[in-house]
């Protein structure tokens, strides 16, 4: 990485091309909402969203804003607020290609990409309509069974995201990114061609120099760009660093029930009128 510190979140998001297969983490795992705003602002189109393994606000907004053509996920949930309203609306309208999955299958597909293997098998899943609706998933005989044909097992193809995008607390100036125990972010970075990260803060120390931070750090080798974005997950939480902004989330769910309400929310979010609590203030 030649220039890990991009001049802006917008410049970082600009590196996600239309049509990209874009991997994003679950709402609890560090979502790059500031970069998502930049994606919507620039009018990104035709994204294939890979949720690792589910998404919520981020996917729902991207879908509502017309940025997504395909979604591969084990679920779209706004927690206690239920299914994403724009997602449900798009499903009903038939405007979204659905690749319904189950959580471990998404992890296994990314792990297969991480290992450079064409597929990984998993137990379970057989007899589910998820499998019935995924012609890209195969059922093979377990070659190690006495009678392979009599021991069917699901084979999941590797998932190779063009881009992985997430938000983390820290990066250093070399581009190493600290993700603590949110290990799926490391798998995403290993699996993706390009990994773009927003962080609360870029620090001067070398995150790899200390055994303690190194254990939870993605080496810069896998990181294509880092942008500083304080409160970059707002209105979602960043692990236990800061809480989700419940007022804004509730307002979103209420607004997103209708096209007009969503459009209004989007406009206010994009032009900065929408502001959260203390955390979001810090971002201004």
């Amino acid at each position: 990485m030649n220039d890990p510190l991009m001049p802006s979140v917008a410049a970082l998001a600009a590196r996600i091309p239309d049509g990209a297969k874009l991997a994003v983490p679950a709402d609890y795992s560090g979502v790059a909402m500031a970069a998502t705003r930049a994606l919507v602002a620039r009018g990104a189109r035709d994204l294939h969203l890979v949720c690792v393994p589910v998404s919520g606000l981020q996917a729902d907004i991207l879908i509502g804003a017309g940025c997504v053509s395909t979604i591969e996920t084990a679920g779209i949930t706004l927690g206690e607020y239920g299914t994403g309203p724009r997602f449900a609306q798009a499903v009903k309208a038939g405007s979204l290609r659905l690749l319904d999955a189950t959580c471990p299958a998404l992890h296994a597909g990314l792990q297969a990409a991480e290992k450079g293997i064409p597929f990984m098998v998993l137990r379970g899943i057989l007899g589910s309509d998820i499998l019935a609706r995924r012609p890209d998933w195969l059922v093979i005989g377990n070659p190690f069974a006495a009678e392979p044909a009599d021991d069917p097992i699901v084979a999941l193809p590797a998932i190779h995201p063009d881009v992985a995008l997430f938000h983390a607390p820290l990066a250093d100036r070399a581009g190493n990114v600290w993700i603590g125990r949110r290990r799926e972010l490391m798998t995403m970075a290993h699996a993706a061609t390009l990994t773009l990260v927003t962080v609360e803060q870029v620090v001067d120390k070398d995150l790899l120099a200390d055994d303690a931070t190194a254990a939870g750090t993605i080496p810069a080798l896998y990181v294509s760009g880092v942008a500083e974005a304080p409160a970059g997950a707002w209105p979602l939480n960043l692990w236990d660093r800061y809480e989700a902004d419940g007022v804004t989330l509730a307002a979103y769910v209420q607004a997103a029930r209708s096209d007009a309400g969503f459009a209004d929310f989007l406009a206010r979010w994009l032009d900065g009128r929408l502001k959260g609590g203390a955390v979001a203030q810090a971002a201004e």
Binding site: T73, G82, K92, D129, R133, P152, R182, R183, M186
Partner: protein, 248 residues
Amino acid sequence: MSPAAYSRQELLIAAVTRLLEGCRHVAVGASSPIPGGAALLGRALSGGAMRVSVLGSTRNNFFTNGGVELFDCAAQGRVDAFFLSGGQIDGQANINLVGTGPYPRSDVRWSGSFGSAYLYFLVPRVILFREEHSRRTLVEKVDFISAPGVSALNVWRRGGPQALITNLCLFAFDKAKGCFRLESVHPGHTVEEVLDQTGFTFDRPGNVPETPPPDAAALALMRGAIRAEIAETYPRFAATAFAAGETA
């Protein structure tokens, strides 16, 4: 103790806790305050021998290998019990977390299948939990099988449905016959009410017992330590679910 001496949630928590007896490790998914409370109560009653992972909790979640760890852990045989729910659940214990009507353009779309299609096969005791007991939720045949209740004999399957608990009653699942059996009806409800509100057929004994109420020890624990613990993940639930103070 009078019937009003415990809340509906306390009854359910106590009933679920009984289903967890002997488990070494119980995992609880997101948005599951009653299963979470039951697991924490089971741990307290076990003297700490039972481990509990509450997804979404920081204090009661000891995983350090990212989102895949719960699934790997289950595959290793280290998760004894888990909870699933469904927008629809049918008489063969198939669950539907995807939506109603024709797929993919569901009339009502729910969040999605999450880990159900996997954990239903891997975890020995899966407890189905659905508070709403109606012909809308308990149907003859689900519109979409997120995870099947039973499998062909040659399909590798370590786990599956053990029981289904609702606001009205507790069903046990008979794996050999592939159908539910009414185990007990909660105090204040009747077998007729269950028959009337259930969209699938089920077995039942001639005499259906009443779901036992929580005993004093369980109530004391629930209203003390468990309420405090569960407040970390579900503050609103903790504030309203427990019948404060009436422990004996």
